[in-house]
Symmetry: C2
Subunit: 406 residues, 2 copies
């Protein structure tokens, strides 16, 4: 049953009860529009149940290692994060710097250091400029608009800050989930990094929260692909502070389903914003794969299509080359048989069970001239489906990633 | 022991004895520079032992199906090929057209239809214009320069025809291998397709030839990556007509090693040319991975690095962002540990066993300003190695693949 989700205008990580945030500009990154922020703290009034999903890259930075270790402890209360430098490939100095950031943020907030998480995104291989960060952390002020400032502080080549919040009411208790994400952009000389931080005032059982976050990640952040590269810093976290009251939510709790849906809705909105704001992107591409023989088939087919450079450039050129879609599902590894595949671009069916339709391709091209294009592929092999999000590939992507030289 | 390979100036598929070729312009494709060819026949004077390696895409065109079936018979004598239209996603009509092309080419050459192979590359989903192809095939004339014309006839967005030939002499018998390949370009509204056709005058045992071709493909064509997409038409063939004389070469034959090396040398040269001529490419990128725990690790790491958009744009921008190389090997699935990785860009070591060196990055950038950049990564986990080839990602790639609209 679909929960009755109410979106909060301009909501973000501080929309749930008991959350505050603030940010400063410490000059770790030397770009960005006003107001400039590159260092922020997001904190709960009380300790939270925490869950996390991390990059699968074999190489991770010390900040990720430290956060992963502390999430393993099951309790956290705050996140200190910076953009500009990712603190990856920085060895033992990097771990000392990550620890120091959490110490300073702990002193600022009065929160135990071991309950302070840390995230860094930006240049790889450079040490954090602790001479800039050390004096800046104590100056962070918490404010009502702090959530929006925090969202700005984690941006790298993102062109807009990304935040969302929504709530549901179950048996008289209102639960709110807020979130912010930063994208899938790379900065000189950086790599794609994705952060997605969710906050809630719901009380949550730790095991349930971890399982739910994993399920949410799999249909949201993990289905976004800008350029197939996997960052060494990708991190998704949820912190549940319980200030909404009531029993800890686990699978048997009446709010379990609605809260799962609420987290999923917020995370999917953030995922779509990440794709829409991919480097150089002008068009959000939503790829729906239906009729797959298994959920895994649907997922891999949708992701392969959404990440294919030939599909991306086909969207850039508003060219309804459904042949490229066939090629992409064909190489995806999913069970496909040409004779059962149907393809839609927007509302136009271009291939019906393996046979090209006589659709007017000029009309399809016209329909693609939008800031959002949906591609739907029915594999005709079963009942499973998945949705992935990507973006077009423009010359601007190449400029952003090539036109800076050391 | 390395065979004494002698390269043949301007050599190609008709350099080995007993081979002839010719091509015409049938107007299947409506672009290209003079002299224009889009339909060619490559034929041996006598039946050949044949081996083939085909696309792993689950969707293949009728031309590939027919060729694969006939290669399975073990004997072939000729190839008829066209560019402009790939004859994929064309259903039963596509199979009739493929059969008809081999019939007509058989009539032209006096070769049994079942020994005639066929390759088509170009637009997907459009039927072959048999009204153009039928009258054109009988007009093909074989000539001394036919190999070069055939090489031109299979080009799509390739900017140069690709051909090579070389020979070795073993115990008084000279064996020659010629080859042509077409690239990794896409045309409106097409996809990347790779053809690599090798000819030889060596006599060959069928089982040995198939095993050798597979091994050769794995270190040449299968290590080229332009944009990660896999065509529905990729085809690599070798036809051995035996006119050089002597016993059929199998694993026990003294020429087995040298002929394997000869095929490998020709195929690697063609693979490098494919990468160098990738769509929009200005720079050939050679990625050498050493010190891998297994051959498969070395291969996947080299391919992941060479195909990463972030690595490709780093080369475009002559930016020695070795962090992107770490990221790519980290996500490749190969066994990697940050502390044992060393990285070289050209001759410059930028990372030594996990520690950044104090190399002058401006110097490294200067060294990258070349039409060929070598990246070398020592994983420090074992003794296996592999080489992959790719190219930079330029705005021209985006233009080629996006700036045509239906």
């Amino acid at each position: 049953m679909a929960a009755d989700i109410e979106w909060i205008d301009d909501g973000g990580v501080t929309s749930p009860g008991g959350w505050k945030a603030g940010a400063v500009y410490a000059a770790v990154k030397s770009y960005g529009e006003e107001p400039r922020f590159d260092l922020g703290v997001l904190a709960s009034d009380v300790p939270c149940t925490v869950a996390g999903v991390f990059t699968r890259n074999a190489i991770v930075g010390p900040s990720v290692s430290l956060t992963r270790e502390r999430v393993g402890g099951g309790i956290a209360q705050a996140i200190v994060a910076n953009s500009g430098i990712s603190n990856t490939a920085t060895g033992e100095q990097g771990m000392r710097d990550a620890l120091r950031m959490t110490e300073l943020a702990g002193q600022l907030t009065g929160i135990a250091t071991e309950h302070m998480l840390v995230g860094s995104t930006g240049v790889i291989g450079w040490p954090l400029p602790m001479d800039l960060i050390e004096p800046a952390i104590p100056t962070i002020e918490f404010s009502a608009g702090g959530g929006a400032n925090f969202a700005r502080a984690i941006m790298t080549t993102d062109t807009v800050a990304k935040q969302r919040a929504a709530r549901v009411t179950i048996e008289g208790v209102t639960y709110t989930v807020g979130g912010t994400a930063k994208g899938s952009g790379m900065i000189h000389p950086d790599m794609a990094t994705c952060f997605c931080f969710l906050t809630t005032d719901a009380p949550a059982d730790r095991r349930w929260l971890q399982g739910t976050l994993k399920a949410v990640a799999d249909v949201s952040i993990n289905m976004v692909d800008i350029d197939m590269d996997t960052s060494t810093s990708d991190t998704m976290l949820v912190l549940a502070n319980g200030t909404a009251g009531g029993d800890a939510i686990d699978a048997a709790h009446p709010a379990a389903g609605p809260l799962h849906q609420l987290m999923e809705a917020v995370a999917i909105e953030l995922a779509r914003e990440l794709a829409r704001d991919g480097e150089g992107a002008e068009t959000l591409v939503e790829v729906v794969v239906e009729g797959a023989a298994s959920r895994e088939d649907a997922r891999v087919a949708a992701r392969t299509v959404s990440s294919s450079p030939l599909v991306k450039t086909m969207v850039t050129g508003r060219d309804p080359n459904w042949g490229r879609l066939l090629m992409a599902v064909g190489r995806s590894g999913a069970e496909v048989v040409e004779q059962t595949i149907s393809v839609w671009i927007g509302d136009h069916c271009t291939l019906e069970r393996g046979t090209p339709t006589d659709v007017d391709l000029a009309e399809v091209s016209k329909a693609m001239d939008s800031d959002e294009v949906q591609i739907r592929i029915d594999l005709g092999r079963g009942d499973d489906s998945a949705i992935a999000w990507g973006c077009d590939l423009t010359t601007e992507y190449v400029h952003i990633n090539a036109d800076y030289t050391t």
